[in-house]
């Protein structure tokens, strides 16, 4: 055999230089270009909508903000009309497409994007058998997998992070004077680093399920289910525990995330429901607006409201971004490990 005399393979030669990452990056780009273009078009269409609506909204809000004297009847009217028109929630078509609806829909973008890009990444290779091609090339399967996952994960996180800027600008009118708390589930997941972190987590879940199930569509379904449970669970049960809530007997600040109310009295702590059960019907049905308050005072009850102040926004963002990043890295490492271990 002639090949054995080739100098690059002389016995004891220095360690071979592996295939450079830049060349593997080209492979990733070339293979996933259609999916990346699809994702870009999807985000592009949303961007155009946010841009058009945002220009209108911010123009209208500029009038609200510059209204003098602030707090006058005319200014309040202007503000209410701004909210009615752009926040939405009413019956008309215009109101249905308001910021409230837009932000609810936007909360699903991370999982759609992540599942669409992540699930086929490894699953398609198994489905079509092309892993037999990819894993027998000179670069080796681990380097192949790491280059793909790392590049696409960084791209996904970077693009969605940039996208957050656009959304924050669009949402400005509601955030500016605390009409909508930044900590509210509807807003929190779309601001700061959360949007990018949740997209990265969806991508990592999809890659992980793709490696585990080895089929694209079931991997997408598993991602959708797991991510949704995780996202809703975090919003309703976990996020409020990042830091112990504050409580007040008065009104919480306008821009706070109000978690709930409870009462303390001579017999300990009561929920609002228990309180309503104890109060006599004459008090609950009374036409006097102060009847319930008076009844509480008579029975030595104090009403508390627990809330998270808006000043904790970045603290919460970093906690959530941190654990989502850790989870994503863990899932991607697990996927690479499965690629490494998987026998044909």
């Amino acid at each position: 055999m002639t090949a054995i005399t080739t100098t690059t393979r002389a016995p004891g030669a220095a360690r071979r230089r592996p295939v450079p990452w830049s060349r593997l990056a080209w492979v990733t780009y070339r293979q996933h270009r259609p999916a990346l273009i699809g994702a870009a078009v999807f985000l592009g269409l949303i961007s155009v909508y946010l841009l058009i609506m945002g220009l209108q909204m911010n123009h209208a809000y500029a009038q609200v903000a510059s209204c003098k004297p602030a707090g006058s009847e005319a200014c309040l009217h202007l503000k209410n009309s701004f909210n009615r028109t752009y926040w939405g929630g009413g019956g008309s078509a215009m109101e249905a497409g308001g910021a409230q609806t837009v932000s609810s829909l936007m909360l699903t973008v991370p999982v759609l994007l992540g599942a669409f890009l992540g699930a086929p990444l490894l699953a398609r290779e198994f489905e079509t058998g092309t892993f037999r091609f990819a894993w027998t090339q000179g670069c080796g399967r681990v380097r192949w997998a790491v280059s793909k996952l790392a590049l696409l994960a960084v791209t996904v996180a970077g693009v969605t992070w940039a996208f957050t800027e656009l959304f924050t600008w669009y949402y400005h009118g509601f955030l500016a004077d605390g009409q909508v708390s930044r900590l509210l589930p509807l807003a929190f997941g779309l601001l700061g680093v959360a949007f990018a972190a949740w997209t990265l987590a969806a991508f990592a879940l999809a890659v992980f399920f793709g490696a585990l199930i080895r089929r694209t569509v079931p991997a997408m379904a598993a991602t959708l289910a797991t991510w949704t449970v995780l996202a809703i669970g975090t919003a309703v049960a976990i996020r409020q525990h990042y830091q112990a809530p504050l409580k007040t007997t008065g009104n919480p600040p306008n821009d706070a995330w109000v978690l709930g109310s409870y009462a303390t009295g001579p017999h300990g702590q009561l929920s609002v429901n228990q309180l309503y059960q104890q109060a006599p019907a004459s008090v609950l049905n009374s036409h006097d607006p102060n009847a319930f308050t008076n009844w509480l005072a008579q029975h030595h009850y104090t009403l508390w409201t627990s809330y998270e102040p808006a000043s904790r926004f970045w603290h919460f963002q970093l906690i959530e971004g941190g654990w989502l990043l850790a989870l994503s890295v863990l899932l991607l490492v697990a996927a690479v490990w499965m690629v490494r271990r998987r026998a044909a």
Binding site: R23, F133, G138, W144
Partner: protein
């Protein structure tokens, strides 16, 4: 030098042994036909040799003692799996680009002139190529890697007779030009008769015949096909008994 060397190699999937107690040495410089009925363990043996699967028992090394699947082994062995899996949505030219960027060794000139010679347009998508063209593209990519060992798993199974003929001519041209070793598996021996210089018969996960084709023919006084058939019958009756 041995291109593939197995010692008591075994591979178990869940509860069934696809390959068991397989000890063999394949010397370099041959076109080796790995023959056996479906399910005999041919693909398993090849997967172990190219590093796609890991052994449950025993050991397999390639190209004079390099562990199968190690970076050095991946570098020097080109493998075309059954049905020549390639990325269907990529044009042939981009498919070459992908392969070029996944390997340290790559002869772009060779790949392009080979495709030109075969009349396979670079801008045509892999999914739109005929079965024969796709197999030729996979072979082109494998050869552009300038391997020391070329491993082909059932390369002819999906091809029509003309494409089979052309494919084998291509393989033989390479062997003559580069002097590389080739291992190819098949469940039909007839079409390998003229090209194979070394024969291994695998049956129920075990090697039943292994040797140089001319020596086997001289010893048995029949054709390779008869030797294979006789060996398969023998192991079948052995199982029955």
């Amino acid at each position: 030098m041995n291109v593939i060397e197995c010692t008591e190699l075994g591979k178990r999937y869940r509860r069934t042994w696809a390959l068991r107690n397989c000890t063999l040495s394949i010397p370099a410089g041959h076109v080796v036909a790995l023959v056996g009925p479906n399910g005999a363990g041919k693909t398993t043996l090849l997967n172990l040799a190219v590093g796609l699967a890991t052994a449950t028992a025993g050991a397999v090394s390639v190209l004079d003692g390099i562990p199968a699947g190690s970076p050095d082994a991946l570098d020097r062995i080109a493998f075309v799996a059954q049905d020549a899996p390639l990325y269907k949505n990529l044009p042939a030219g981009a498919m070459l680009g992908v392969a070029r960027n996944l390997n340290r060794r790559w002869d772009d000139q060779r790949a392009r002139s080979r495709l030109a010679g075969l009349g396979i347009p670079l801008n045509k998508k892999v999914g739109q190529l005929s079965g024969g063209q796709k197999a030729q593209l996979a072979l082109t990519i494998a050869l552009a890697r300038r391997p020391d060992l070329l491993v082909l798993d059932e390369p002819l199974a999906a091809l029509d007779p003309l494409a089979r003929h052309d494919f084998m001519v291509s393989v033989m041209e390479t062997v003559t030009a580069d002097g590389i070793s080739v291992v190819l598996s098949s469940h039909v021996v007839a079409e390998l008769e003229r090209v194979a210089s070394y024969l291994i018969v695998l049956s129920s996960g075990q090697v039943t015949v292994s040797g140089k084709a001319d020596e086997l023919v001289a010893a048995h006084g029949t054709s390779l096909e008869q030797i294979v058939l006789a060996s398969m019958r023998e192991s079948e009756s052995g199982v029955a008994a």
